[in-house]
């Protein structure tokens, strides 16, 4: 009965492409805008593929994906080893696009863009540098008159991938941060006040002279918020831009190697032009699926996302993946199986 059904499905799939496939996903809110756009565009070209992505948060996405209630998940933080072991290792992390955090601040007196070194950023968020007039801030910003105001740190109070990127960055540049606070979608902040969402942090920073906080790059670009220059590993002060974020992923590829499972942090990467506070956002897929039709449609969609889909990134505030990464991901997609058989091959271009 079952094989008959499968055969029937195969025949219909081969015979007419109008067999409608429904794909459900859930997870991170950060990439929601570009995922919705991708689904809309893809559905326009392939009307038989109906997709739905619920932006319920990375935690919820991982839970639903693990419970098998959705076909794919979305997450801003990679799943940890124990969660992957609980799924018998049946998980693939596929990077889809890059996000970054920018340091925003409100100093009405200062018109030039401020520069920040690693130790200064870390000590500001650790509560060690408490005033803008600090000698170290003045030393890296020669020629700028910094006011004698208290520094008010503003963080995201809601659990978010944005916070994961920022705390991951701080953990890389400051051993003390890694020890005392660590990285996560919510952490125990040493100082500061919490705003809800990018708009909450941005609003609080705008309303509070002396405030400094972090928001998503896309949010800052769309709202024209001035952002500080961060010094990267190579020693250059980098303006947060889309190309600088893609450069960060390119710089990190050297460390990963082609056998990576992509669960890697790319904050504080190598590369002269690399912006240091950037990260992948991942699509969670299974290594083994049960439904051939669905699986093939899902992989086709993901491959389109990684190739033609990437061009809409910059206009929506997301940085495209480095082009070299496509072939690494293609190998993972080609290895996905349905009942022991592979279902997809990288198309010749």
């Amino acid at each position: 009965m079952r094989s008959m059904l499968a055969a029937l499905l195969l025949v219909t799939a081969a015979g007419c492409s109008s067999e409608t496939v429904f794909l459900n996903g859930a997870g991170a809110t950060f990439p929601n805008i570009i995922y919705q756009r991708w689904m809309l565009d893809y559905n326009g070209m392939h009307p038989n593929v109906q997709m739905n992505y619920q932006s319920i948060g990375s935690g919820g996405g991982i839970r639903q994906f693990s419970d098998g209630t959705v076909d794919f998940g979305g997450s801003d933080a990679p799943m940890n080893d124990s969660a992957i072991a609980a799924l018998n290792n049946n998980v693939l992390h596929i990077p889809t696009v890059l996000g970054a955090d920018v340091l925003v601040y409100n100093l009405p007196e200062v018109t030039t863009t401020l520069r920040f070194t690693q130790d200064v950023v870390a000590d500001m968020f650790l509560g060690r540098i408490t005033r803008w007039h600090d000698a170290r801030l003045r030393a890296i910003n020669p020629g700028v008159t910094l006011p004698d105001r208290p520094i008010i740190i503003v963080y995201r109070s809601d659990g978010s991938g944005t916070t994961y990127i920022w705390t991951d960055y701080l953990s890389k540049i400051s051993p003390e941060w890694a020890e005392r606070v660590g990285r996560g979608t919510s952490v125990s902040w040493p100082v500061g006040i919490g705003g809800r969402g990018n708009e909450g942090v941005a609003g609080t920073v705008r309303q509070t002279p002396g405030a400094a906080g972090y928001v998503e790059l896309g949010y800052a670009l769309i709202n024209n918020m001035p952002a500080g220059l961060l010094r990267n590993r190579a020693g250059n002060f980098i303006e947060p831009t889309i190309p600088a974020v893609t450069a960060a992923a390119a710089g990190a590829m050297a460390m990963m190697g082609p056998d990576t499972d992509f669960r890697v942090s790319i904050t504080d990467p190598e590369g002269a032009d690399a912006y240091p506070a950037a990260s992948f956002t991942w699509l969670l897929m299974h290594r083994e699926y049960t439904d051939q039709l669905k699986t093939r449609a899902l992989i086709d969609f993901v491959w389109w996302v990684l190739t033609d889909g990437q061009v809409v990134g910059p206009e929506l505030g997301y940085a495209p993946l480095p082009a070299q990464m496509q072939s690494w991901i293609a190998d993972r997609l080609a290895a996905i199986t349905v009942e022991g058989e592979t279902v997809w091959q990288r198309p010749d271009r």
């Binding site: 948060g57 969660a83 008010i152 996560g184 919510s186 500061g192 006040i193 919490g194 609003g203 609080t204």
Partner: protein, 313 residues
């Protein structure tokens, strides 16, 4: 079947259906508590009573203590009541006793409209309008008058307990004002006329006759407002500062139980983290029940008091 038999069957069915309806609500309550308790169990066994009395909330190290949120929930609601009750009851008295008819309808409708504004709008208004107003006008006055007390100390960053108190006060005002007005309108005119005939001024009639008569109802209105304040999430989250610390100063940021659940639930990835958030839910439920029980006790005592008062008259 006889007519009598049909009636008995009909009565039985009617009774069974009504009993089922009546039992549904306690059953839902019970299921809610059970589910919360079950989900919270890992956190309850792990942290015990420490959960209620410690202030560390560290999802990275998986250490959870809810004291700042319990404190913040109670203090922000108390502040809201302190601000809203005089204003709301005053409005109700004005509208029933002193206002011209055209104003009664306009002001009454406007006050009721306050309840229709979504809380996220209150939150945005709080960030962009209320906090700058507090910074310019209210905080300097407070610092000048009460600056010597620990209640008003430290730096005012904007997002703070006092901002949450003000927002909540505005949000619960329509509930208290509307219900109080209904209650005051229900006071028999003969009561007031009698007081006036005895030579009381308008003020004396309101204060010593109408308010005591309406006392129970007004306390009920306040409880309604308090319930709303304890559970309010979005607007508070946007202005309270979301900091896991207990501070005596109302100028400093704080946190509430409802806020932490709304903030962290979606991204809570580990099971202990989720469990700790469920335990917060359980504690919030417990706090609401205790506060309500306390308020009921108050209503009961007030009711007894007013009965005694009328006997004395």
């Amino acid at each position: 079947m006889t007519a009598r038999g049909t009636r008995t069957v009909g009565d039985t069915v009617f009774r069974v259906v009504l009993t089922a309806f009546a039992l549904v609500i306690p059953a839902v309550m019970l299921a809610l508590v059970l589910e919360l308790g079950l989900q919270a169990w890992p956190s309850i066994t792990r942290f015990g009573a420490k959960f209620l009395f410690t202030s560390t909330w560290d999802p990275v190290a998986e250490i959870y203590g809810a004291a700042p949120m319990i404190f913040g929930t109670l203090v922000s609601s108390l502040l809201a009541l302190l601000l809203a009750v005089p204003l709301a009851v005053g409005t109700a008295i004005f509208l029933t006793e002193f206002s011209p008819t055209w104003m009664r309808r306009t002001v009454g409708t406007l006050v009721e409209l306050l309840a229709a504004i979504p809380s996220v709008v209150y939150g945005l208004w709080g960030i962009f309008v209320l906090i700058p107003l507090l910074r310019r006008f209210v905080v300097p006055v407070l610092e000048a008058t009460l600056g010597w007390t620990p209640l008003v100390s430290g730096e005012f960053y904007g997002n703070s307990m006092i901002a949450a108190g003000f927002i909540l006060a505005i949000m619960i005002l329509p509930y208290i004002a509307t219900v109080s007005r209904e209650v005051l309108q229900a006071v028999p005119t003969s009561q007031r006329d009698a007081a006036l005939a005895l030579g009381a001024t308008r003020w004396e009639a309101v204060w010593s006759v109408q308010l005591p008569y309406a006392r129970t109802g007004i306390v009920g209105a306040i409880i309604l407002g308090l319930g709303r304040a304890l559970g309010e999430t979005m607007a508070v989250t946007m202005v309270i500062g979301n900091r896991h610390e207990i501070s005596t100063s109302i100028l400093e940021p704080g946190y509430t139980m409802a806020s932490v659940i709304a903030n962290e639930f979606a991204e809570a990835t580990t099971s202990l983290y989720l469990s700790a958030l469920f335990e917060i839910g359980l504690v919030l439920f417990g706090v609401t029940v205790v506060v309500n029980a306390f308020a009921r006790l108050l209503v009961w005592r007030v009711a007894r008091g007013s009965a005694a008062g009328s006997t004395a008259l």
